[in-house]
Subunit: 379 residues, 2 copies
């Protein structure tokens, strides 16, 4: 769905930001950054064995320095200059090839690589130490983070499609889950629903259940059966054409307790408070405070640490809705609102999440509208 | 399925290796290393936002230095000392807490972190640079790689279960794929089969199709329909209880061409040549040469770069079957044999993969026996 022009636009956008920071070359090692500039899409990143390098000059196309096993797939991308070695190579796993390429591209100019939050250096640390003995490499000054934060129209459409797929799967959960169904079966069935509804794969699913909310939101599923009166939450990130959705839904098994129902109302209220400020000019902190006022009365945070984040090539990327994030929202940013509340009278918590794109005048929800009241599963 | 004793055994094993290397503390940042020592199992690693740190002293239990969102789940593990901060924190994302913990644990002793192949530093590079201004951290001297390479009996059983699940799914592919089925539908259906057969999730699926083999083995699926006479290959890594399978199967749509049938025979022959040497005392290089002789006549390699690898908490880990890997096989190692051959008279290639555990006297296949001839799909 992404043509050559799309990648040329992205490359140019990053290069404009590089120029502003005085960078002569970027070194990229992570899946999302490399895919952003080239469209190189493969699940082979699941294997940590081989490093993959993309070098972006100040102008012109990026250069791929990659294991030969990836040459065929990379040759279908916008990249023309593909330099390969046979990996794994214990004596030199692409490092001298990369060093020479960086020297050739940057000359005496500055080279940057992502240094900040949401980024890692995806290569062995020993190889990195060896590389920087020969070539000086500093921070990319958040060039990649900033470029990726504002989506192109095609990216927004890809995320919208992923959200619609997850939304259809969420709507069908009552077909597969009722009192007595083990939570692990719900997780398994839900992933199958996501695939049936068009997901390419399902990289992320977590959730929880409990009588008044749940203990945490990142656990894998136990085999415990759903019980009448419990709340069950599923939070998924599905992939379609390389882009993520990331939102959740809460269900009550039969009628919810009053406390859980009130907590859900509060989540809806917090979501609306966030939505009201989702527009160009608001800061991430503004959104945080608006939601936190509803969630905690303005206590300034909770164990999850944030109330939403950016979304795109990664399940989470870019900005965070925390008090310290002063990013100014722009049209084209795609984000999630993810309020959490504790359920009164208990130790449980509940969370809700939806996905949005910022428009010129406000925002548009990319995930289907959540129900005013929790969806019910049969007892 | 893993109890406290299992983790105490693993911890002790790593600490014995640390002592041999003169290490007073290990810093671990990656999912597989942290899970190996604690059982901390969550799909939340899909979000790159938050770093997770585990510090292993020379004796005693590991200390977790983690975002507060993970405290509840970590508290169910063997770890007793859990130090948290509210992440993301743009001014200090756990770094001062980690620094103090490392100083406390290591004193004036040496600290190591994984430096070598198959490992990455999973934290922002900028935070790493900040950390090592205050605390000297060197290589872990491959302590984690070596410890994880020899599996415990419970680990072998977990991998066997994952392999059986994938095997049942492979056997059912003819139910879902035939001439006319788009390859993307085959991929989607196959993932659903894996889940139906008991996979917790399906982190890896790649494959290819073509009339005489396929172009490459790491591409995502196109929407092209299967055609009579084509070969289709699916290579999957499914997760069960946190452990991976990793093997593939080839299918012919109707009768295969003679060239493809001969290539498949050669793959079986290469596999048997590898199996014959899979026993304690053989080196990884021995296995490579035995298989490479069949695959290429002893040319010394091909684009994939290796003919199999270790397997366990990661899709790929530990040793590689290449000429330069002189690891001596030991009972308890779990590996894959993955020969590849070019199909005569064309540009296509074919690969085959099976999973094995090294036993005291030889090896045992963990994946179901491959068919003597390619499985057929209906035309």
């Amino acid at each position: 769905m992404f043509d050559t022009n799309e990648f040329l636009t992205r490359i140019k956008g990053v290069q404009t930001r590089m120029a502003a920071q005085g960078l002569s070359a970027l070194l990229l090692t992570q899946e999302a950054d490399i895919r952003y500039l080239t469209g190189y899409l493969t699940r082979f990143w699941e294997s940590p064995t081989r490093p993959w390098f993309l070098v972006l000059p100040a102008s012109g196309l990026p250069i791929a320095v990659i294991p030969s096993i990836g040459a065929e797939l990379m040759s279908r991308s916008v990249v023309e200059d593909i330099r390969t070695w046979s990996a794994p190579d214990y004596s030199d796993d692409g490092i001298s090839l990369l060093r020479d390429t960086l020297r050739e591209v940057a000359g005496k100019g500055r080279i940057g690589t992502p240094h900040g939050i949401e980024s890692h250096l995806r290569m062995p640390l020993g190889d990195w130490i060896r590389l920087i003995k020969d070539v000086e490499i500093g921070s990319d000054m958040q060039v990649m983070r900033a470029a990726r934060m504002v989506k192109t129209p095609l990216e927004v459409e890809a995320i919208r499609e992923a959200c619609q797929i997850a939304g259809r799967a969420f709507a069908r959960v009552p077909e597969k889950a009722r009192a007595g169904t083990p939570l692990s079966s719900v997780f398994r069935s839900f992933q199958m629903l996501c695939l049936e509804e068009g997901a390419d794969w399902v990289p992320y699913l977590s959730g929880g259940k409990g009588s008044d909310g749940y203990d945490d939101v990142i656990s894998p599923a136990s085999d415990d059966p759903l019980q009448a009166g419990e709340i069950v939450m599923l939070d998924t990130g599905v992939i379609r054409n390389g882009y993520f959705s990331d939102f959740d839904r809460n269900y009550s098994v039969g009628a919810p307790s009053d406390a859980a129902a009130r907590a859900y109302d509060k989540l809806m209220e917090a979501t609306r408070a966030g939505e009201a400020l989702l527009k160009p000019g608001s800061t991430a902190a503004d959104i945080f405070h608006a939601m936190d006022t509803v969630c905690t009365g303005g206590a300034g945070g909770q164990s999850a640490g944030r109330l939403g984040h950016g979304l795109g090539l990664q399940l989470t990327e870019g900005l965070s809705f925390i008090a310290d994030d002063h990013t100014v929202l722009e049209a084209g940013m795609v984000i999630t609102l993810e309020p959490g509340v504790s359920v009164s009278g208990g130790t449980g918590l509940m969370v809700h999440e939806d996905d949005y794109v910022i428009t010129d005048t406000g925002c548009e929800r990319l995930s289907p509208a959540p129900a005013d009241q929790m969806l019910r599963l049969d007892t």
